[in-house]
Amino acid sequence: MFESASELSHHFAALRSRADFWSLRHVRELGEHYRVRRSVALPPAFGDDSGAMLTARIAGVEAYAATSDLTQAGLQAALERAEHLARALAGHALLEVRELPVPTGAADDVAPGYERPLDGPAHWFEVLGAESTRVPRDARLVDWSAGLGVHCVEQIYLNSAGACLRRAQRFVYPALSVTASDGHDSQTRSLGGFNFGQQGGAEVVDRLGLVGAAPRIADEALQLLLAPNTPSGPLDLLLMPDQMVLQIHESIGHPLELDRILGDERNYAGTSFVRLEDFGRYQYGSPLLDVTFDPGRPEELASYRHDDDGTPAQREYLIRRGILQRPLGGALSQLRSGLPGVANSRACSWNRAPIDRMANLNVEPGDRSLAQLIGGIERGILMSTNRSWSIDDARNKFQFGCEWGQLIENGELKGVVKNPNYRGISAHFWRNLAAVGDASTVEVLGTPYCGKGEPNQAVRVGHASPACVFKNIDVFGGAA
């Protein structure tokens, strides 16, 4: 662990600079990917990516230079490029950051179990291969896949004020999917994949329930192929956690990113329907809605002690009893806006600069069991497992689709329906929150593919959520 720390510290101490402040953020990411598709093992892929970003602050202007050359000369050259650019920007810079505080502490943030080794390729190919062969032989099952991705990431942050912040994490992404097709229609059912990832080790695969799941997943894909389309019209909507994560992500997470509200993202990721003056007073959702920024849940993807600018992270309510409390804004955005924020200045790797990102963004549990949630619905639909997402650039008008739909009539689950979609407007949708599942319905999920920023960055975000019921939502199916 932190193999290069000593050499890096030595190099950093030897850097020469005329900047007022400078920092180095080193990231090393080791990856391994295994996949068995249609019962054939694909060639495994491994990765070892390391590099560093040097940042220089001169007369209140900051610039960066990133390099994969970690020699003394390589780091010195990168720092000089950053300095040159910071000087060249004088007079053109939007921000004056002289007052931006710099971290000074030292801390090691090592995720629980990080040093416990994982099994190697032979073991995982055996597990995935066995699961792949559990998919029943049926000509309509045209594609199926079982996979596992493991990423170990170590980061070292050093600065000219003496800070030394080190972090080591392991991310695990198990996945299973089966596609059924009759030559005209196709339906896919999945478990894990792009909306499930956690920190940890082999226990993450167990928590997903991957082993032994293939026959059920295949059966559900075949059920969907034979199912009628989802009916159109207003219905009460029960969203399971593997769709709630997407709903939280797109229509709470992104709109609350403070750099969007400050206009940085208007050319790409977009802006927000939320205004600076809304914090502390805006009725975002019904009084049942409590949303937290929670960096302390060990298995969740974005748990950490400091963000990538070195700000200490702690749990905060973003929405409490439906009222908007604070934005997702790191130290720089807090300085720009005068608003309180959270420690969410994050970068995807060494070659991209930190900006305001989601991290762990969770809906807090309520007091209803799943049976009570279903029992409280007279005419509605359960939707599970996101498969489609689209929302406007202000994060307001959305349309989402799921893999699995099941009608609810008079408090009971009824028939399966395919192509379940729904649409709404964020500013109104959360006010229709009518019931929140208790802790027994909570799942800890997340995705490594949250995209944003210029240049573009995809980061890991975690979302934990209970199942939730929304009243009177515009629901519809696919093509006839």
């Binding site: 990133a66 390589g74 950053a82 939007l94 190919f125 045209v142 896919t188 406007d392 689709g401 573009n456």
Partner: protein, 439 residues
Amino acid sequence: MDAREHFHALLDSLRPLLRADEGFTLDYRAEDSEFVRFNRAQVRQAGQVRQIFATLALYLGERHARFELSLTGTAGEDRARLCHALERLRAVVPALAPDPYLRLNREPWRSESAEPGTMPDNTVVIGQIVDAGAGLDLVGIYAAGPQYQGFASSWGALGWHAASSFNVDWSLFHANGQAVKSAYAGQHWDASTFARRMASAREQLEYLGRPALTLAPGDYRAYLAPAALDEILDLLSGSFSAQALASGASPLQRLFAGSARLSPLLTLDERIAGGLAPAFTGEGPRQDLRLLAGGLPGERLVGSRSAAEYGLTANGAGAHEHPLSPVMAGGDLDEGDILSRLDTGLYIGNLWYLNFSDRPAGRLTGMTRFATFWVENGRLQAPVNTMRFDDSVFSFLGPHLEALTREPETILPAGTYGARQSGSRTLPGALLGRFTLTL
């Protein structure tokens, strides 16, 4: 070290390490990029990124695995990293199961191209952008610099592609929140061309100052500018994949199965010349392919793995089987006649955040974004507030496609996930008799 020399130095150090029964491929991608973000016509964030990545694949009979690693650009250190990667692969590959779908191209092909650009110092460009944006609410990014791609195999394949380019991708915002999007990309920066594009954007911004209309959901006549059609083609880029078509994942599977049709106005080629993407992939030299011919299905994009799995013939498509430089044929609609032929309906400058409502049915949804106007009797009336569409390509690019503009426009991607995206799409604008808005 010069990138080409670096790539060859890696090959020279790798070849002697291989044993008689081993084979390799080496994929090389590097860039030296300037990134400058703007907000409110000033620099929000700026930096440089120098990165070099190589992917080494080791083959032992029908067993293989690959290892992607970052490199430093210094020969000694990188030789050691490559050697370490090779040893890691040697520890794994012998124990793997044979891959029944391994059909590696073992021809000794060669392809080499270099497209040097001319770009001023980034501080000069920053000054020009800031000056041009004075008094305007400009937000966007300037990305520029050289990029390198190399590929080689122990069977004698050797591909090299070097190109320098820039891409300014920006929006001008009106105080009412409406915006117009512009781009200037290429290989030879010309300040007067940039100034003309900025002037054109300023002109459109004036229209955006009019009170915006909110439309009711329903069916409308519409014109999709090339940038809007580009978003649709982006979502459909996996449609021609042989694997996607065989596994029920292609939104055009009904077209290829013969149960749905597209407009006979649509002809789409994967064309190498002028496309700004390398003429090779890890599968070998790319081929010119006709993907749609008068609305009928043409070639599939077939990688060697799909060829083996589904009994097809590989045609140089990369492993992802996506077109890298598609070109859609133009039609008979002159630029000057767009508004008069539209008559009354929507002029849509861009679309945004597209996804599928029903993939097998080719049904898509997405948002209007940037410079979308209501047109009446052939005259721009007012900007339109953001609207959602939800419609099938077999409808709006089927019987409801009325015309395509005569001169297709080449659009260079501004995407920078992991690395600056290469390639291009060349597309006309599309006049639609019916386009369905839902929210």
